[in-house]
């Protein structure tokens, strides 16, 4: 078995875990202004306070893992998207400290609520734009980024950025449908529905844009025999999307959230088909960028030993704080 392929899947898994887990945290941040100051916001924030930190750790695994498993890709992508990464990091600073600060300083709770929303929004937009900048291709010369300052800023990257914001809002809203009840839940349901429509529209737009982006992508999706592997992705995405809209309308518990995750899963699959086997389109394949065999083996041992434990205790932590926030709270 080719370890480089295994590592590509591990990194993809880490990125996906980050996107869906911190995605709903950031989504709640984005939707925060829609909730009334006071109980509504407090409950929304308390539904993620015990888990956000663990969720954000997947970002470190995604970045650190890329550094370790595909150092060349890490060394090219980060300078290429420099302003976006810096903006994301600063956004996450504001978002992260707001969890603590707003409780410590009721007099400035409104300011920290704004920081929570602003930080979440900037982080989500930046992450989506990094994805777009990657997909549209990065200019490489030798072993380094060779593009200009502003390559990351195009209509396409703005589209992927806004799409990510909408997607995170969908995850956040469906999470709140699960964790809240009463009036707040009704509010979350309404938001979830709108976010779902926006997400689907933007996903569709990005997909179409991808086909026009270059011949390579179009060939993957539109010519035989690739089309037989690729075609199920958009078909299944459509099925999930309709199911999700139906579930948001009537389910009171976790179902909309799981379907939103499934929608993201389909998006990820589509992304995989598009980018494979490159890690930096269009010049660097996963094999070009891969760390040497010894590094891959050493880390694989670590992942094999720790990942079941990590998933186990993360699941346990979620289990401890299960149930509606309104019913149980922090008692």
């Amino acid at each position: 078995m080719d370890l480089t392929v295994i590592w590509a899947f591990i990194i993809a898994f880490a990125v996906f875990a980050y996107v869906v887990m911190d995605g709903f945290d950031l989504g709640i941040g984005i939707l925060f202004p829609a909730f009334q100051p006071g109980q509504g916001r407090n409950r929304a924030m308390n539904s993620i306070a015990p888990v956000w930190d663990g969720n954000e750790t997947w970002l470190v695994l995604g970045g650190g893992g890329l550094f370790a498993a595909f150092p060349l890709a890490y060394a090219i992508i980060l300078p290429a998207t420099y302003p976006l990464i810096i903006a994301m990091l600063l956004g996450l600073v504001f978002r992260g400290v707001a969890f603590e600060y707003r409780w410590r300083d009721p007099g400035h709770a409104k300011f920290w609520d704004a920081a929570f929303t602003g930080g979440s929004l900037v982080a989500a937009l930046s992450q989506g734009m990094v994805l777009g900048a990657l997909l549209q291709g990065i200019e490489v010369e030798g072993r380094a980024y060779a593009g200009s300052w502003w390559d990351w800023l195009t209509p396409y990257t703005l589209l992927t950025g806004v799409g990510t914001v909408a997607g995170y809002a969908l995850l956040g809203a469906t999470w709140l449908v699960w964790k809240l009840d009463g009036e707040a839940q009704a509010k979350a349901r309404k938001l979830a529905f709108r976010a779902a429509l926006a997400t689907m529209a933007l996903m569709g737009a990005v997909s179409l844009y991808n086909l026009g982006l270059n011949d390579d992508y179009a060939a993957k999706w539109l010519t035989a025999p690739e089309i037989y592997y690729a075609a199920p992705v958009p078909v299944l995405t459509g099925v999930v999307a309709l199911w999700l809209l139906r579930a948001i309308g009537k389910e009171n518990h976790s179902k909309p959230f799981w379907l939103a995750l499934a929608l993201f899963g389909m998006g990820m699959a589509g992304l995989g088909v598009t980018i494979w086997p490159n890690v930096v389109p269009h010049d660097v394949t996963i094999w070009d960028a891969a760390a040497p065999h010894r590094s891959q083996v050493f880390m694989l041992v670590g992942v094999a030993l720790t990942m079941p434990l990590i998933i186990g205790y993360t699941a346990w932590a979620y289990w401890v704080f299960r149930g509606k926030v309104g019913d149980e709270g922090y008692h």
Partner: protein, 481 residues
């Protein structure tokens, strides 16, 4: 603001700034997590509520420190790629896996159990909660283990092979890479520094409240525990520092020459300079005040031992001496002062005046932030002292930076400076406010929120448990308006 500075220098300033800021938080949280585990363990063992109260007092502070550590730490994990992409590409195969292990074995552990530690006391049993606290403490330590292994490998690189494309590749033994020659010393010295830093913060807070109210049993307990740490750990730390220094002399002699201010070689025993203004251009120590032979005695444990100076090192391989020389002196001075406080408190304890001696309490209060300064100076000593290399002797810092233009690096540096100073100053202000409240019976924990009715009993009922931090609820305040 950054006119005339090149991208390399800006990138170096940015790394120095972000890592210095970041390290304050783990330096505190490594020690504080262990302290919280000790407090909770003592509570479970003895059943005395004072330990639970102190746990709840400090866990609120821990929550803020930890959040600041996390957000500033994520910046670090991306900084390698944004500003030091050449380094990342070349060294990634060796140090990348160690950092991946840090994420897998430390970051997930502490983050995964943090929620239960902060908010779960009434949701899980006492023993399970204690287990969560222990896991958070273990996570902070394991994190230090891996990141210090990475740093040490960059200082004393071994166990690698060079690839044709210039990459460092791992050799056949990861053990050799992880336990590289400077790692054990750096690990012990840094972790003890974190414990001492925390002890002096806890001691300072205890002292402050003793100055206001000598009878406060909670303040007495924390002061006493902190002073035991100072008494026991400060001497061990000085010994560990000495051994670390000897290790450095073996592997990075130029760094020790800079620490000592030895521009010249001393064939018949070298002096220890207490004062001096390093002058790199003229390669001499101006206004030097030295104690003859002391340096030879410390470094070689021999009166007349010859010591080589920077005159044996080519100019373009020398570190800048001024920062190293003075950072080292400040660190050592603080270490000695910490030892002094430890001994003084032991004397006070013996005379039965530990809780009555105002002057001791004032001194402990003044010393409260000293650990942070010592830690910062220690890192300046070791990081500036290994210049001009990022991987010692093999890769120059100047050859490791990203292909970025100065304005890009300057703009992001400015953003980091503005955001860090505002956000973290506010956090520190909140921490100071929490510290200025006297610890009391029935201390509130880190819980917050107005979610549901307040209950006095959870799964494990007890009179000392409490639900929300009712007096700081935004909702409660808004409803009152």
């Amino acid at each position: 603001m950054f006119d005339g500075l090149d991208a390399l220098l800006l990138a170096r300033i940015q790394f120095a700034f972000t890592v210095s800021f970041h390290f304050f938080f783990p330096a505190f949280s490594i020690g504080l997590a262990s302290y919280l585990a000790v407090l909770e363990g003592l509570w479970l063992k003895t059943g005395k509520s004072v330990y639970l109260d102190l746990f709840k007092y400090w866990v609120k502070i821990f929550a803020i420190v930890f959040a600041m550590g996390v957000v500033s730490g994520i910046v670090m994990s991306y900084q390698f790629g944004t500003n030091w992409s050449v380094f990342s590409d070349l060294a990634g195969p060796v140090i990348g896996p160690l950092m991946a292990y840090e994420v897998l074995t430390a970051f997930f552990l502490e983050a995964g159990f943090l929620g239960v530690m902060l908010f779960g006391m009434n949701k899980v049993g006492r023993k399970l909660h204690f287990f969560a606290t222990l896991m958070v403490a273990a996570g902070t330590f394991v994190s230090a283990f891996w990141i210090l292994s990475v740093n040490s490998w960059m200082q004393t690189p071994v166990g690698y092979e060079m690839a044709a494309n210039g990459q460092f590749l791992p050799g056949d033994s990861w053990i050799a890479i992880i336990f590289n020659p400077s790692f054990p010393y750096r690990l012990v010295h840094t972790v003890l520094a974190a414990y001492l830093t925390t002890a002096f913060v806890v001691g300072g807070v205890g002292a402050r409240h003793l100055l206001k109210d000598r009878a406060n049993s909670h303040a007495r307990k924390m002061f006493s525990m902190a002073m035991w740490m100072a008494t026991l750990v400060a001497p061990i730390q000085i010994m560990a520092g000495d051994m670390h220094g000897l290790n450095t002399m073996e592997h990075q002699p130029a760094k020790v020459m800079a620490m000592e201010g030895h521009y010249e070689s001393h064939p018949d025993g070298a002096p220890f300079y207490v004062f001096g203004i390093p002058n790199d251009e003229e390669q001499r120590l101006d206004y030097a005040v030295g104690i003859p032979h002391l340096s030879s005695l410390i470094l070689k444990h021999e009166w007349d031992a010859p010591l080589a100076g920077l005159d044996t090192i080519p100019d373009d391989e020398q570190p800048p001496v001024f920062m190293v020389f003075w950072a080292f002196r400040i660190m050592v001075a603080i270490g000695v002062a910490m030892l002094g406080i430890g001994l003084w408190s032991l004397f006070a304890r013996w005379r039965g005046r530990l809780y009555e001696w105002n002057l001791l309490h004032r001194a402990a209060l003044v010393m409260a932030p000293s650990g942070f300064l010592a830690v910062l100076c220690g890192w300046i000593t070791t990081e500036v002292g290994r210049q001009p290399y990022v991987i010692y002797g093999l890769l120059r810092t100047a050859d490791a930076a990203s292909p970025l233009d100065a304005p890009a690096v300057g703009a992001s540096l400015l953003a980091f400076i503005v955001v860090y100073f505002t956000v973290f100053s506010v956090g520190i202000w909140y921490i100071m406010r929490l510290m200025s409240a006297a610890p009391k019976v029935g201390e509130m924990g880190a819980k917050r929120g107005d979610t549901g009715p307040i209950r006095t009993a959870g799964i494990t009922p007890g009179p000392t448990q409490n639900p929300g931090d009712a007096d700081v609820l935004p909702a409660a305040k808004e409803e009152a308006e």
